[in-house]
Symmetry: D2
Subunit: 399 residues, 4 copies
């Protein structure tokens, strides 16, 4: 049960890069990080590529005018001069900039929290992981939905054998907001998402499905993909080679099979993500449009609907509980949960507390690299005609 | 609006082969055929492989004891001697017998209504089609769910451009009743379904997904599959080579893509079939567990739920309406709808009324052959390692 | 499990009064009675106040032209002359005619099945009950929804203590089809429903809520209403004094409380009936728009959804099972269930089988009288200003 | 669209009374007030009746140890001595203390935000309203759910005539957490809620239904209750005279009728609040368990589901939008919305900006008094035997 009481000695001194007035995701970072003011304190930022707009915005959200910087390099330099300088930075800029900024931040001695997909290639990920280790810093990745408590409930129930052995994994993250190309024409944020130079080798595979893929790993840590097949399309032709729709099929090492649908042209769909895990005895199903519920369907028994915050939920799930049953939580609590874990991880890293780091479940750099690997394997399969490919778990040269 | 008033001059003299006391599907045939007693009259039968049990059963459902036959051959012979002999016969026996019985019935001058999957090979289907044409008889196939009115509503709305051009087709027919092998051990009906000699080249692909595949053809008559890929599994190992789970991916000629999941090991799933058709503007979604509803989701507008029998439904949909809005219909009405169409088709065939035959939308022998073709292509892909195969539209030698 | 095999020695010779081409409910009677052709056989009728239209209709549904009568008196006279004359008659005419026709039928030696509300006054009901007893005949009342199996499941679970002691009863039967007065202007069936001379002392209280009230009695046979309060309105003014909306509050003898909402001006509502029974430990909730489901909510446990036909359902519920799990049933099965019970009751009465009659749960004349009593008490309360009135369980002079 | 940018010149200096570690609601106040750190800053508190525990808690949530006070009187005295002393205080203590603390706070020159139900009597409410006016201070009342944007959407749609004239109002706020008396035995917060000396004249009418009643006023500002009837029960007998279940019926001045059910013994119910407003043309329905949805049902048209944040929503609704469509909001956003309005109101009051105060829709002292009036009228009806009482809109002497 979380009520805002501190989990670490003092709030971390935090800055943002990007996430300003025109960003949709920036507010989610702040609302997650600043939930209780006991984990992070926002004291600086390079919020906008338009420096003036960024400064005005920063002041409006309570940042000292002098610590609203025109760009991240200046921020790193200037903050390094202060005794009360920033300790951790969030990177909420377009994909193509993550790699350089993360390296710069680590080299500046900062912990990093970065948007997904982390980088373009697994190689970059491995390189940055080494750097982070060398610098003794944390790199967290904001798979925001993964903070939803039902994910932990599913993980606990599967670990406890409540569904038996896993046979089928059914994943979906789709919406219809890009059914036409209007978004690209009117929104800078949508425009770069379909530009391979900025977005990387994928659109929806990276923008949407990495969330769901990461959650599936969180839920089923024992399950390993052996091979997969991806078929991707650009229904709005100007998006090619980047896909606005993709189907993936998976074979797991234990003989289970899976599939995933990701799309931004699923017209009218407002459900977002759906995760169904089918075991030999029962299934679990979660939709992010019903974030306070979990379906538990035992073959031959009445279907059960589990509700957030009830005493019958697993303690690992209820550990992240805030508002109590009947009181609906949503995406802001999911973000608050992962940001709180970032804070605990950073604090533990600073204190050299390896036990905490080992037991803490949160989207770390390995989760980020695994997301890139997911994209790489999907793209490799798709670009070879939608064929089965072994799921490469070592460094890959991008297809 | 249907209220039981006759659509044909007099009820057809009808017999059943199989469908006796131990059959689950037999009752569905009778409840469909005899709904209003103005389309069919059940006057004879060879209801059971156990002749005594079959006779007792026949008498109990009102058939003259003397017309409860020990087997179909005897029935064809004896009924042929009567002036009031049977005109049409329903075949509700295990798959492996359909081909021989259908040919015998056609040769005996009878119209045929047969369970799905129709036969084992497209070749058999084409041969029987020629025979039926020669004999001037109808062969109908009981894709029972396809009588649900929402299927016609979807067809009409797509034809009217209500969703734009089709981009994605998402089909599902899954349940969890075979999560273990208990069924095979206790039920003869389940036992033969996993025996290739009786069931043919597939289990769930034929038993379940042919329904959904046929409905997709009904809903989107303009859409043609170009190639598909099928990945099938036997999670209960004793079922191999027959599958209890399969994923299919499809490419349509217009550039649309599709997928289908069929399974009888989807533990706890009670939804049965789900059909979602995504267009450039909107989507339609139907679940057979909510047979009186249709979701219509226009991108950027409030989601709509259309309800059976309301005046805003298409006239082709409301033509099959019986109970009125608020009054829930179910699977029995779906069967009644297709059986009524079989009666109209048979009557038209008898009268040489080609116009009626051409305009009538019902599961005819072509629908039956197309179902076999679906299975053949899926199995061919699966047995070659889950690879893309061109969707053969000509006679195939089974892979 | 019902599969059409006969429950009585031979089908009863059955006729209908009313229920012709312009009737919405007539088809429901036929679809219920003739479901398996082993309980009733439709052999005569006076289907329509327009004798010609009635004859044409009768012939179209398979009745011998000579047994399509111009009126019920003629039918009773002529059929009495035949050895194979009718044995039981269904009355599906406007409310105001039920009393006279029922008496005439009983006096003609016929069993009676009558639409609800049965008559206008409890006195009439008691008189007819005496007559029926004297004549040795059954009077059944078509509370059609009450044949839904979930009603029996709720009854069994409550009897088994699955929800504890009952505290709160929440009943609803509302729709919005009379939000305007268009119905009265275009439909004869709607016009008489708001004419007190034909409809009796109520509109929606009788037309809708008697169903729900009867089901509540069926579900909770131990619960007795002590007092009630009714507040009724005529939102379309021309309907006054008959109500198109009413709220009722109830006190039961065990200290439980209840409420009921009935309305035909609940604009846009397509759910029909809802029944929620709250006990000390758990609640049961059923909606007729989801006729295959029952919600079972134990306080402090995951909510359960029970599904029709599953082995975990009570045997009294599954005794009425026809199609099997996953195969949706609807209103036609509910009607088939009560008509089958009418047949069994009539057969038992004919045979003097009191044991069967005592154990059979179906809407008999007492259920019909209790429905009239419900209306009378509600109207008495409402017409006195919406005050609490003792629930009169003896003969009442109508307020 | 809210993104955290300031709406007032600087955050208000805020303190809490109550709401400490053992309080469930205290966290909701903080999470609402501190959402973006641009409306309120928490700088002091008397968080707990146990001063030591309160201080430890205060420090843990970031309050200066020296400003964690043992009681509110000390806090008011000490803070008054500081230049940077508190300006506004939230009262999250048991009901019976609200009146004295509010007066003390106003007399100390503070704005007040107080839990509901505000006080015990309308008289107290009127007295405090006069005091607040004299002192030039705001009194806000935390009807937390009322900040849900769908409430504003309903208000806008009704004002625009989208449902026609209102006929029926159906309100519900029920749960089952007090189905037994375990709560009273284990939780101090539950114990005082059933003690009339602390809770006042009602339990669930005040604790639950005042929320729903206020929202109904917000949604339908033109609708005035003319008379009502309340029937209340204490199913757990030790709670008497305070009710754990109540039914209310209402007549509005325009001829509409309404009803409300509030209960904490509705075993297994997890839906919380439900509001349905039926008009001549259409209905609106909202459940707080689906806080991102609104049902809009036009009679004769497909039912519509409106989704939060979509462009088709009213601008007054989208003005409170934060996370964007697909991204679920919950109760924390509702609290953030009302706290932001409190801040705007306080700032306007401080600046003498009457225009802003007049146009701002938020739960002010009149809303608080109206809630007390609601309880008083319900209790007066119930305690007189569940009779109709005129809805007193002037000062009442409590019955």
């Amino acid at each position: 049960m979380l009520n805002g009481e501190k989990k670490i000695a003092r709030p971390l001194r935090w800055a943002m890069i990007g996430g300003g007035r025109t960003s949709q995701v920036g507010y989610k970072h702040r609302t997650g990080a600043l939930r209780d003011n006991t984990a992070f304190q926002l004291i600086a930022g390079a919020f906008d590529i338009d420096a003036e707009r960024g400064k005005e915005f920063g002041v409006n959200i309570g940042v000292d005018e002098n610590r609203c910087y025109p760009d991240y390099r200046t921020m790193f330099t200037e903050e390094a001069k202060r005794e009360d300088g920033i300790e951790v930075v969030t990177i909420a800029t377009p994909n193509g900039t993550h790699y350089e900024i993360t390296k710069a931040a680590l080299n500046a001695g900062l912990h990093v929290i970065c948007e997904k997909p982390l980088f373009f290639t697994v190689e970059e990920g491995e390189e940055v992981k080494e750097l982070a280790e060398k610098q003794g810093k944390i790199v967290g990745v904001t798979y925001g939905y993964s903070g939803n408590q039902m994910v932990l409930q599913m993980r606990a129930m599967i670990e406890q054998g409540k569904i038996g052995e896993i046979r089928v994994v059914d994943l979906q993250y789709t919406h219809g907001f890009n059914a036409t190309d209007q978004g690209e024409k009117t929104s800078a944020a949508q425009k770069w998402r379909v530009d391979p130079k900025v977005a990387g080798p994928s659109f929806v595979l990276g923008d949407l499905s990495t969330h769901t893929y990461y959650m599936s790993e969180l839920i089923m840590p024992e399950m390993k993909i052996k091979k997969l097949l991806c078929d991707r399309q650009s229904f709005v032709g100007t998006r090619a080679p980047l896909e606005d729709n993709a189907f993936v099929m998976m074979h797991y090492e234990n003989g289970a099979v899976g599939r995933l649908w990701t799309s931004s042209i699923n017209a009218g769909c407002m459900d977002g993500q759906r995760i169904r895990i089918v075991g030999t005895k029962a299934s679990l199903e979660w939709w992010d449009s019903k974030p306070n519920q979990l379906k538990y369907e035992v073959q031959g028994e009445p279907a059960q609907t589990l509700i957030r915050a009830m005493p019958y939920m697993d303690e690992t799930c209820n550990a992240d509980e805030r508002l109590g049953a009947l009181h609906q939580e949503g995406l802001s609590e999911a973000w608050a949960n992962i940001y709180l874990k970032f804070a605990v991880a950073i604090d533990a890293k600073n204190r050299g507390d390896e036990d905490t780091l080992k037991s803490l479940v949160y989207p770390d750099i390995d989760a980020g690299i695994q997301g890139i690997r997911w994209i790489e394997n999907c793209v490799r399969s798709a670009d070879n005609g939608g064929v089965w490919v072994e799921f490469e778990t070592k460094k890959l040269v991008q297809a």
